[in-house]
């Protein structure tokens, strides 16, 4: 069996960002301690399976503090013979060199900063507490603390963004000289403040967003940080091993409120409810899909990757009509939305923008 991935959701934030719809609550130290204990308890309910990635996402995982994070890492190592990629998400403003050092010592070897933009005005309208300068400092600090595998997030389609400001952000990222970038197109979800405030009116229109996205791909590719997934870019060898598991339809366990798991053919999740999570000792699963991992799901996830899907490898694994898919792919190739190489199909940057429609037209 292949080693699995581990995900820990840390739902604490000092302040909610107006565009964020992930599960998060106000930080409380006592709650953080109970939460840590429950995560560890939940880990010990699993068999001794081998894992090779651990990812702390949030919220703001660093709010737990390096010692608690270390306790979770140690528990995971013990329970899952964990070795490999250890990632923690961090905000450029809530981290200093000392903390980064502690994180390194705790066992993390990868850090992902929510930089989002290299333009202070944009950072302000995103409600981010940090400045471009602080982002620079944070990345510098991480490097000094010994991190070589650093990722930064970039947001596309945000209020007031223009091709010029995007270029500034990209130049800034180039200056940061990091081996991994996640570039997401802002999607304003219901229930967020951006939604309430109708911030969409301040954002670039759909056509412009498409251009911004394509510019981003072109720029990052040109500096050797190459696209390997719809929203992810890396220098060779720095692709996120953990995230690749999602897209390759490999198994992972999620710990903590709102965390998702895919294990033994089932997808399940903890509800977005910290109290329920704590009071059940991490035992409040809900199954979201009993028969996960089918061909459609596989194809849907796999086509997010630049490497695409290799139909010749799937004959034994799935029942599907290969010829039909290849036939349907043909006209899409002519429209420049995907490429076909033998039996490998992969989307082009233009194709990534309409990936849902492409996937639906290939497999339905």
């Amino acid at each position: 069996m292949n080693p699995i991935g581990l995900y820990v959701h840390v739902p604490f934030c000092l302040k909610k960002c107006p565009y964020c719809d992930f599960y998060s609550i106000k930080f409380d130290d006592a709650l953080a301690e109970r939460y840590t204990q429950t995560i560890i308890t939940e880990m010990f309910t699993y068999d001794h399976i081998k894992a090779d990635t651990l990812y702390f996402g949030g919220g703001t995982p660093v709010l737990l503090g390096a010692p608690r994070l270390k306790r979770i890492i140690d528990a995971a190592k013990k329970q899952f013979s964990l070795e490999g990629e250890f990632t923690v998400e961090a905000n450029p403003c809530s981290i200093d060199k000392q903390t980064l050092l502690e994180l390194k010592q705790a066992g993390f070897n990868r850090v992902s900063f929510g930089v989002q933009s290299g333009v202070d005005k944009e950072l302000h309208s995103l409600g981010r507490a940090h400045t471009k300068m602080q982002a620079l400092e944070a990345v510098k600090g991480a490097k000094e603390a010994g991190f070589t595998n650093i990722s930064v997030d970039l947001m596309i389609g945000i209020p007031h963004q223009t091709p010029q400001t995007l270029l500034s952000s990209l130049e800034f990222i180039k200056q940061l000289d990091v081996p991994h970038v996640s570039a997401y197109i802002l999607k304003i979800e219901q229930g967020t403040r951006f939604y309430e405030d109708n911030t969409a009116a301040l954002c670039p229109d759909e056509d412009s967003v498409c251009d911004l996205y394509l510019n981003t791909i072109e720029f990052l590719n040109s500096i050797g940080v190459e696209q390997y997934e719809i929203s992810n870019f890396a220098k060779k060898g720095f692709e996120s091993k953990h995230n690749l598991k999602y897209w390759r339809c490999e198994e992972y366990l999620g710990f903590g409120a709102s965390a998702h798991s895919y294990y033994k053919g089932k997808r399940y999740l903890h509800p977005r409810d910290i109290e329920g999570y704590l009071s059940s000792n991490g035992n409040n699963y809900q199954i979201s899909d009993k028969q996960a991992g089918g061909f459609e799901e596989y194809a849907m996830l796999r086509l997010r990757l630049s490497e695409g899907i290799d139909l010749s490898l799937l004959d034994k694994r799935f029942c599907f009509d290969k010829e039909k898919i290849l036939r349907r792919a043909k006209p899409l190739e002519q429209s420049g939305l995907l490429r076909i190489n033998g039996e490998i199909i992969f989307l082009t940057p233009k194709g990534f923008l309409v990936s849902n429609a492409i996937i639906a037209s290939l497999i339905s």
């Binding site: 996402g57 998702h260 999740l269 459609e296 799901e297 997010r304 429209s335 429609a357 996937i359």
Partner: protein
């Protein structure tokens, strides 16, 4: 109670005490309400059984407030002269599509009540049916209804009836069917002025079929007016036009809520015949029923076979429901011999049926009944009329499906059906109507002013121009005040061409239609625009083209979709992503795949309404 009535009816059976009549009225002028009041006054229906507008027994009829199929009911009335009278009220369809059926219903009567709205006056359709009644030598009794309305002006309306129709009307009963006011006056007029039927029960049988319907247990039930002779159970009857013969199982008359068997139907009677008839196709409205053993020397005059005038393709939205659609059409046809259908296939829409209708309303009713009563989602193609094409080799072909239209090179002469139309309108809209008719290639015949405020216009119009949206256009240009009626005139030579619609370079057969040369450009442009509105962006650019022969005369483009929602898979949460995919797939189901282009079903409908 019922027993009493039956006795009374059998006692009263004297031909001179029978009154056979119809009610002629415009939609909403109160025909059904008056019929209900008459039923009530003659206590044919106990009050508790009264449902509003009893005679219209189909849901659609009730909702639209119009009567689609004729029905008949037998009533008895104790008149002021102390005599007991038998009334046969024969209801007539109120729409132009059913003109022929109206004429047959009228032929079964000696009189007609003309109901006119006290505030609105005569409408085109009423006028047409009244002329029809006068043509059949019917005694026409004008009745002014809705006198309870504040805007009622009975004097003006009576004068209008006298001026326009030329029958005395000043003493017409002023009634309110809704309030039940003055209904007796109508009943007494019926007794006094409508002549009793003629005929001799000892002559060879001649009975006029004016309606029929299919009963699951008894087979086809035909409604007849016996003109001469006698018919009873055991009589071997023969349909004089179709030649089909049957043995009568049962005769009777129509009560308000059910059928009442009786011993025999004699000359002058209106009733039904059940003879285990399997197919409604054997019982044409207008045909004469005679005694096979003692046949009449000739059929009653006026019979003609009704031919469908408007055609459209009907396809199941879900191809697997083809069998269900066939079954629905077969069942509808059991009761409606004027509906025709035959299988056809379309490259775009798959397997379906080419259906023929008497007119647009008939078409809409059938479509609606398929969807409502049989719960089927259907796609209908643009209505087409029938074209008469003389080929260069001298053969004549009739084309009811634009996709079968011959190549221009093979056409010597193309002819299209024309109608004689009459439009009644308040004078202020005359200009608008003239513009509209002009635009629809109408040929102006004449116009006369009925009074200071109303005018009647006569136009010859190509049927082709009225099947799309003429009614809607007329209504919107006259704020709903104009009324319209037409009758078929025949074929006239015309400069017709076939317009093809291409999506992404491929002809979509279901969207082709025949159009007059002069109208090709504007209609092509309009259709292309409409399609653009209704075809969602796809993964590639979709050119929409309209072409005549090989020549493109209009073009629009649906731009390619650039971006859909890029849901994140953050923290391994793929549920949203999956939902999006499901939604996308669900959306696809409602689409028709035409070559590489996905077209929503609404697009086919949208091109039907271009105004």
């Amino acid at each position: 109670m019922l027993k009493n009535i039956l006795e009374v009816i059998s006692l009263s059976f004297k031909r001179e005490n029978i009154r056979n009549f119809s009610i002629i009225a415009h939609i909403d002028h109160g025909k059904s309400t008056l019929a209900d009041r008459i039923l009530e006054k003659t206590s044919t229906v106990a009050l508790r059984d009264m449902e509003e507008q009893l005679l219209d027994n189909m849901d659609i009829e009730r909702e639209r407030g119009i009567t689609i199929k004729a029905r008949a009911v037998k009533l008895n009335y104790q008149a002021n002269d102390g005599e007991l009278y038998t009334f046969n009220l024969i209801d007539t369809p109120g729409h132009v599509d059913f003109n022929y059926e109206v004429s047959r219903s009228l032929a079964a009567c000696e009189g007609a009540i003309l109901v006119v709205d006290a505030s609105q006056g005569i409408e085109a359709q009423t006028l047409a049916n009244t002329y029809l009644a006068i043509e059949h030598d019917l005694e026409v009794l004008p009745v002014v209804n809705k006198i309870d309305l504040p805007s009622a002006d009975p004097e003006r309306v009576c004068k209008e009836v006298e001026d326009v129709i030329g029958i005395p009307a000043m003493d017409a009963p002023r009634i309110s069917a809704k309030m039940g006011t003055n209904i007796e006056a109508v009943l007494e007029k019926i007794v006094a002025e409508i002549p009793p039927p003629q005929g001799d029960e000892n002559n060879p049988l001649q009975a006029l079929i004016f309606d029929s319907y299919y009963d699951t247990y008894k087979g086809v039930i035909i409604y007849v007016r016996v003109k001469e002779g006698t018919v009873k159970a055991g009589t071997n009857i023969k349909m004089m036009s179709s030649g089909a013969e049957f043995t009568v199982v049962e005769v009777g008359y129509m009560g308000a809520t059910d059928m009442v068997p009786c011993g025999e139907l004699l000359a002058g009677d209106v009733g039904y015949i059940a003879a285990s008839i399997k197919s409604i196709g054997d019982t044409h409205v207008g045909d004469t029923v005679t005694d096979a053993n003692n046949p009449a020397s000739e059929a009653l005059p006026g019979y003609r076979k009704v031919n469908p005038m408007v055609f459209s393709g009907i396809y199941p939205a879900d191809g697997s429901k083809y069998g269900d659609l066939r079954e629905a059409l077969e069942k509808l046809q059991l009761n409606d011999a004027s509906l025709t259908f035959e299988p056809e296939t379309s490259i775009a829409l798959g397997f379906g049926f080419r259906c023929g209708f008497l007119g647009l309303l008939h078409m809409e009713i059938i479509q609606e009944r398929i969807e409502r009563e049989y719960n089927l989602d259907i796609i209908t193609t643009a209505p087409s009329v029938i074209y008469k094409i003389t080929l260069t080799n001298g053969n004549v072909v009739y084309i009811d499906n634009p996709s079968n239209y011959p190549d221009v090179a093979n056409i010597q002469m193309a002819e299209e059906p024309m109608v004689k139309s009459s439009i009644l309108t308040p004078t202020e809209f005359v200009g608008n109507i003239m513009d509209l008719c002009q635009d629809r290639r109408g040929i102006f015949k004449d116009m006369k002013y009925l009074d200071d405020t109303r005018a009647e216009l006569h136009y010859e119009l190509p049927l082709n121009e009225i099947v799309y949206d003429f009614f809607d256009a007329l209504k919107s240009r006259t704020r709903g005040y104009a009324s319209f009626d037409y009758e078929m005139m025949g074929f006239v030579p015309s400069k017709l061409i076939k317009l093809d619609i291409l999506l992404n370079g491929d002809v979509v057969d279901a969207l082709s239609f025949i159009v007059h040369q002069e109208k090709a450009y504007p209609r092509a442009r309009r259709i292309a625009e409409k399609l653009k509105e209704h075809i969602p962006r796809q993964l590639f650019e979709v050119p929409i083209q309209a072409a005549v022969g090989g020549k493109i005369i209009a073009r629009e483009t649906v731009k390619a979709m650039r971006k859909d929602v890029l849901a994140k898979c953050y923290g391994g949460d793929i549920t949203r992503k999956k939902k999006l995919l499901e939604k996308q797939k669900e959306g696809k189901k409602r689409m028709r795949q035409l070559g590489s282009v996905e077209v929503p079903q609404e697009a086919f409908m949208a091109v039907l309404k271009l105004d």
